[in-house]
Subunit: 347 residues, 2 copies
Amino acid sequence: MNSERTVTIKQIAKVAGVSFSTVAKALRGDPAINQKTRKRVVKIAGELNYYPNSMAQALRSKKTQTIGIILNDLSNPFFSDIYKVIADTLYQKGYSMLLSDSNYNLEIEKKNILMMLSKKVDGIIVSPVNENSQNNSLIINSSTKAVFIDISPKNIDVNYVFVNHEKAGYIATNYLIKNGHKKILLLNGPKNVSFSEYFLNGHMKSLKEHSLKPDSSLIMNCEPNIACAHDSFIELWEGRKKKPALAFTAVLTIGDLVAMGIYEAASELGIDIPEECSVVGYDNIFSSKYCNPPLTTIHQPKKRIGKWSIDILLKQLSDESMEHEKIIIEPELVIRNSVAALNTIKA
Amino acid sequence: MNSERTVTIKQIAKVAGVSFSTVAKALRGDPAINQKTRKRVVKIAGELNYYPNSMAQALRSKKTQTIGIILNDLSNPFFSDIYKVIADTLYQKGYSMLLSDSNYNLEIEKKNILMMLSKKVDGIIVSPVNENSQNNSLIINSSTKAVFIDISPKNIDVNYVFVNHEKAGYIATNYLIKNGHKKILLLNGPKNVSFSEYFLNGHMKSLKEHSLKPDSSLIMNCEPNIACAHDSFIELWEGRKKKPALAFTAVLTIGDLVAMGIYEAASELGIDIPEECSVVGYDNIFSSKYCNPPLTTIHQPKKRIGKWSIDILLKQLSDESMEHEKIIIEPELVIRNSVAALNTIKA
DNA sequence: TTGTAAGCGTTATCAA
DNA sequence: TTGATAACGCTTACAA
């Protein structure tokens, strides 16, 4: 809050020579107030540069007109696309937005949630780190309206909107196998992060269906950002040289940003993508189509996720009795040029 | 706010059998309170799942522990890189963050500012739409601590951190001219947006220094995003065919996202970059190095801008007497492969 | 060591 | 048509 005398209805009242409750009514256009006094009060308020103190309003009305958004990493275009739709809608509806990133970290997520509750947000949209975490109960027990995106608490009746990550891992792996890849490196997300687990499950399922033996040394965890992916891949590629038995021909990544990191490492190492190493992404962020070679990836409809989540939340806010909405979106493979067809080469 | 009975110190007081002010003191570890009662109170508070109402705290203390961030478009990686550093720092310092995008629109910006002031943020970081806008005065007159980034109010003593956009436009144009380009299309930002104006000035300055006549039909305005750039470029390329006199050989863009839009349009139109059309970006966002061809652009140190701005703001918050800090950063040309050298081809 | 009471800036009820 | 007053949940003198 600013240190200078902040203008309140009391100050206006003094200047206008009326009681402060008259000012309050005049300002909100209460018909009980005389037109003349109303105009005078409004004019003075304007001159004094008055704007109401939302803290006081919130304390009284028990409505803050602000929504809390907790995402994992807004510097990832996947999340910023979701963010954008939410932000625009919120603006139009006159809400403001408290925002924070959890960085795939349960501790941070917990503090973020507590902060949101303490700040009394009217509703929350959250991309939870883990489906089983106590953090989710924090939100649910607070009875603050919430929508879970990207993943949602398991076996609990809540609103959610997300893509079937298991299916994504499954179809991505299928595609790689169909192209003749047998040794696939999975550069997965962090451990204890549910969406990584689902993605892994899908991957395993495909492997199994194709009678391919999963190899734990071909499954690595990695923060979904360029730097981490870059470093991991360089290390992995070195290891690959030492253990030819593990020589992977393709990498499946948990996110396009991870794929970008691999592109960068490959460029430094002089590795040809896809000839020496195929890459599949996840998310279909804007840059995946521009990179070289254009990235084959799994699409997530980010804008629709954002739109759905905020629409559901706002509906819940206006209609107490509404049932929870549950939306699961099927992922789609987007074929571009980052996967080599091994069988045709060998043929 | 949640509709259920929210737990307050009064409720705890009732359960604990003490007065509510005793609870308040116990909770904040006041040494005047007996150890036993303190422990009992804390235990009960935990059991009841108590967390303080920030609205009430703010009303009393005149501190909200939240910072307002107003950026133009957080879905642009330029801004999300800045955001990220700010968000992480804020989290570490125990602040929360109210965020909103202005979308290069003065009306929206005004509402955003009013909202931040009304919500009584302790400080503001803003990337203003225009250096001369009244919106800036709104912030300054409120005497809320603020840091201006990307551009700053003209002739007013404030904190700011930004890159010399004029210089950026200047060195980019110089580079293009050095490579033999004489007809350069400037795909600039929106009108009435100061950073576009500075960029244009730099462009003009370079043209003039090289005795090249500026052509107003070679200066176009465009929202700094992919879609707008894509559409503009297609239209422009058609026009170029009709008026060969205007046939540009290069495009200078106000942002890498605009360059991406051109890449997309070029790919649809079957235009070879850089042979048929050179492109220069601005910002050096992460994807500019991965695209095909890698984009020649002007670097802005986004993380440093973010870090500086939040550090300055937090310092101002803790030290009343501090003088305003003013940081101008010199842009740097990053040469990659999106510019063809016309002179060598012709030679 | 604990309790009482005033006040932060609003809103809303009731009196005048 | 206007004004006095209580209340929202908390902090903080001050009194007990």
